[in-house]
């Protein structure tokens, strides 16, 4: 088994638009929980990860600390999860059920670099 990180990216505006009514939000919430639960039951979750605040600081040297915008990535990372999968193909396969995809968001699947230590 290898380790992968899922980075959940979405644009703030799109994220809000995809929320819709309270009823839709609840449905989306329930879908997300079901997806996580199912990954967990199959032993693919190494660490559930954390949500991230959508704003912070961008540091580009001591004199270039800004509040963003995160110009390089219009899609803000809203959180991450540490996944265990056989290979990249499986990690991608497992990510397809992520509800963020229905709301125009993106899952970035990145293998954790293997070291020989």
């Amino acid at each position: 088994m290898s380790a992968f990180v899922y980075l959940y990216r979405s644009e703030d505006a799109a994220f809000r638009a995809a929320m819709g009514s309270p009823e839709q939000m609840q449905k989306s919430m329930q879908k997300w929980m079901a997806w996580m639960k199912q990954l967990g039951e199959k032993g693919h979750i190494k660490d559930q990860g954390h949500p991230l605040e959508r704003a912070g600081k961008v540091v580009k040297g001591k004199k270039a600390i800004t509040d963003g915008p995160y110009a390089e990535s219009k899609d803000v990372i809203g959180g991450y999860t540490l996944i265990e999968a056989k290979d990249l193909a499986q990690a991608v396969e497992l990510s397809l059920g992520c509800p963020i995809l229905e709301g125009g968001g993106v899952v970035e699947v990145r293998p954790v670099l293997k070291t020989n230590m």
């Binding site: 009514s21 309270p22 009823e23 609840q26 919430m29 929980m33 559930q48 949500p51 959180g79």
Partner: protein, 420 residues
């Protein structure tokens, strides 16, 4: 931890009501934004950390923190609720004041304030109902459009206008004033009645949507009778009527999803808990000198609920209750229902005579169940051909697939020789 069904929707209503009380009615949009923020936050955190022990309290606490932020940040640029001006005036007074405003009893009162505010006399009834559904029940424009078989644009226009009227009223309705409360109460009853009816008799083909409307009407009616000024005989009667009707909802569609009339329903599927609650509320309504249409409608529903089989129904009592209803709130639909009850007691011929005698019968011309009733009675007295024509007319007016299927089946029944 599983989320309670429609939890977000209901919490949205509670949060908007309280935030609007704090921000002032002209800042309704701001209150809605804060609620949206609280939900976004919940979603982001719960996805990773799981649903908290008490999700309602979590959401309310988040809304409370956001409210404090907004009040601190915008105190100098915005005018918040004028009625709370002094309370929210100073930096030190702010946190305890907001804490107090988020207490459970305060949130209940806020929902009532909002309910009464939505029933502003300058708003048409349809707008009052839409506004209550939107603000207090957390229904989106699309969800309301779906429930009322209307378009997104039409509902949105209605809501925008209604919100403007609401914001223009400067402050929320004050429920502490007993005299004002009593004056506005009938309009609130009427709006809740219409909301319930939209669920019970409405045009939406989605049984689930209609059940939700009935549940929301019941929930709001309960908020009303739990308040000392709201617990009038008429409120109890209205709530009783809702319970006794809602008790029959599980039997309205049969196993194959077809519409089942009162006489054909599998009565074992009636909700006995709701029947008992309806009966309890009906007993509570039986005080004071006033007899409202709600009392009579609840009493009619109670007579039906008391009959284990159709044959056991006390039709004499029902006809006499309809007679009373015709004196309190006469309408062609009431007269039609009375005629149907007469037919049950004295045969289809008498029922048809009564229908023929309805004064403003032409007002029933667009009502599919007027023709369906004519068809049913003609069929019962063996005139299949005539009956079929009436059902055909009803079919042309049917509002959804479920009604259409039902009426097609009735048309087919006219081709079979009558058994009785």
């Amino acid at each position: 931890m599983e989320l309670h069904e429609h939890l977000f929707r209901r919490e949205a209503g509670r949060m908007v009501a309280t935030l609007t009380r704090i921000f002032g009615v002209e800042n309704l949009a701001l209150a809605e934004d804060v609620v949206q923020d609280a939900f976004c936050r919940a979603l982001e955190v719960w996805k990773f950390r799981g649903v908290p022990e008490n999700p309602s309290a979590w959401l309310m606490a988040t809304a409370k923190h956001r409210a404090l932020d907004v009040l601190r940040r915008e105190r100098t640029v915005r005018t918040f609720a004028p009625e709370l001006g002094r309370l929210l005036g100073s930096e030190e007074a702010l946190p305890p004041a907001v804490e107090e405003l988020f207490a459970a009893h305060a949130i209940k009162d806020d929902q009532l304030r909002m309910m009464f505010s939505c029933c502003h006399p300058r708003l048409p009834e349809a707008a009052q109902v839409a506004l209550m559904l939107h603000i207090l029940c957390g229904f989106s424009v699309d969800e309301i459009a779906g429930a009322f078989v209307s378009t997104h644009a039409a509902v949105e226009k209605r809501l925008v206008r209604a919100k403007r009227t609401l914001a223009g009223s400067e402050r929320l309705f004050e429920i502490a004033d007993a005299a004002d409360f009593a004056v506005r109460l009938p309009a609130v009853h009427r709006a809740l009645y219409l909301l319930f009816n939209e669920g019970y008799h409405g045009a939406s083909a989605e049984a689930a949507v209609r059940v939700e409307l009935c549940q929301e009407a019941l929930r709001l009616a309960a908020l009303l009778f739990e308040h000392p000024l709201g617990s009038t005989p008429a409120t109890y009667a209205l709530a009783a009527m809702m319970c006794l009707h809602a008790a029959r909802l599980p039997a309205r569609l049969d196993a194959s999803g077809n519409l089942s009339t009162l006489s054909d329903q599998d009565r074992s599927r009636w909700d006995l808990g709701l029947v008992a609650e309806g009966q309890r509320l009906l007993d509570l309504s039986a005080t004071g000198p006033e007899l409202t249409a709600y009392h009579v409608e609840a009493a009619i529903a109670a007579v039906h609920a008391a009959a284990p089989r159709v044959a056991d129904t006390n039709w004499t009592q029902i006809v006499s209750l309809y007679d009373t209803l015709m004196t309190i709130g006469p309408s062609p639909v009431v007269a039609l229902n009375r005629a149907i009850a007469v037919a049950q007691r004295e045969g289809p011929g008498r029922g048809l005579e009564e229908i023929g005698a309805i004064a403003d019968r032409d007002r029933l011309a667009a009502y599919p169940f007027y023709y369906a009733a004519l068809g049913e009675l003609e069929l019962r007295r063996g005139r299949g051909e005539t009956a079929r024509e009436h059902f055909r007319a009803a079919l042309a007016l049917a509002r959804n697939a479920v009604e259409r299927r039902f009426l097609e089946q009735r048309m087919d029944a006219c081709l079979r020789p009558a058994i009785d």
